[in-house]
Amino acid sequence: MAKGGTLREVQCYHCGAQFEISARAMTVSCPKCYKKLLVEDVVIKAAQGVTKLQTCGKIIIEKKGRVTATLVEAHQGLEVHGILESKVLCGGPVVIGDKGRWKGDCRAPSVEIAPGARITSGYFEIAPANQSDRFGLSALPGPHNKPIAHPDPPPNPPPDPPHAPPHENSAP
């Protein structure tokens, strides 16, 4: 626990566990799965080809920035002023600027698309957390969107009684 500092809630992008960290922390390890987490904001100023770009904070792709990845996950939000080619899972608002270029699927609670932005292709699921059920969408990651997207597996069902009578509709 941080000494006298403010805390913020984050969600692990590996296992979905939610916990509090110091507001000034830049990287932490998840107390549940022990994997390393990036919790600071990421600013992309040049071309980057990566498999996954994940942070518990925010991702900003600047005008000259370009991200080509299989998955971009930002729990606090995403701003695209450059080029993005990836599947996106975002817990905060997505902003596509007027010079932004987008190619890929997106799930986010809200999106702002400025006139002039170009979206080549993509399947979009944009719904605030309180309306996601209405459209049959599951919860998004991030501390503001409860319940957790990665629930624990259900407990094992109780074993059947040894001499249970056969079900009426069962096949002969």
Partner: protein
């Protein structure tokens, strides 16, 4: 002869229409529409209105609910109270924070060329989201 270029057709809140509708200027939907809309001008779907239709128009502005594909030759605006489920093709797209949108999306000057709302697959035919991640197209 009266000048009709700036006239807006208003479909009232207590009106329910099923079928095909076409217009040259602007139409404002306050009620419910089910079917197909093709327009040379602008379609405005007001707050509280429901439009279950494939829409082809120059400009579409949504404050209510739309279920179906939209093809706009110029511009689509999904305002803060808008809820849209369907595929969207437009030269320009403006989405306000708070709008709900589920569907495939193509935006750009070339996107609307040659596209038609009826020719696109419906949102139901596309893969749906798996738990915790967007659907793969």
């Amino acid at each position: 002869m009266a000048d009709t270029t700036n006239q807006t057709t208003i479909i009232g809140a207590d009106t329910h229409i099923k079928g095909e509708m076409s217009f040259d200027n602007t139409a404002k939907l306050l009620g419910t529409f089910e079917g197909q809309i093709s327009a040379k001008g602008e379609l405005q779907v007001a707050e509280g209105a429901k439009c279950k239709a494939s829409v082809e128009a120059s400009r579409v502005s949504v404050d209510g609910m739309v279920e179906g594909n939209i093809v706009a030759r110029e511009r689509v605006a999904l305002n803060a109270n808008a809820a849209m489920k369907g595929d969207l093709t437009a030269a320009k797209l403006v989405v306000a924070e708070g709008a709900v949108f589920v569907g495939h999306c193509k935006v750009g000057p070339d996107a609307a060329k040659g596209a038609s709302a009826g020719g696109m697959q419906t949102a139901e035919a596309k893969p749906t989201a798996t738990k915790g991640e967007p659907a793969r197209s």
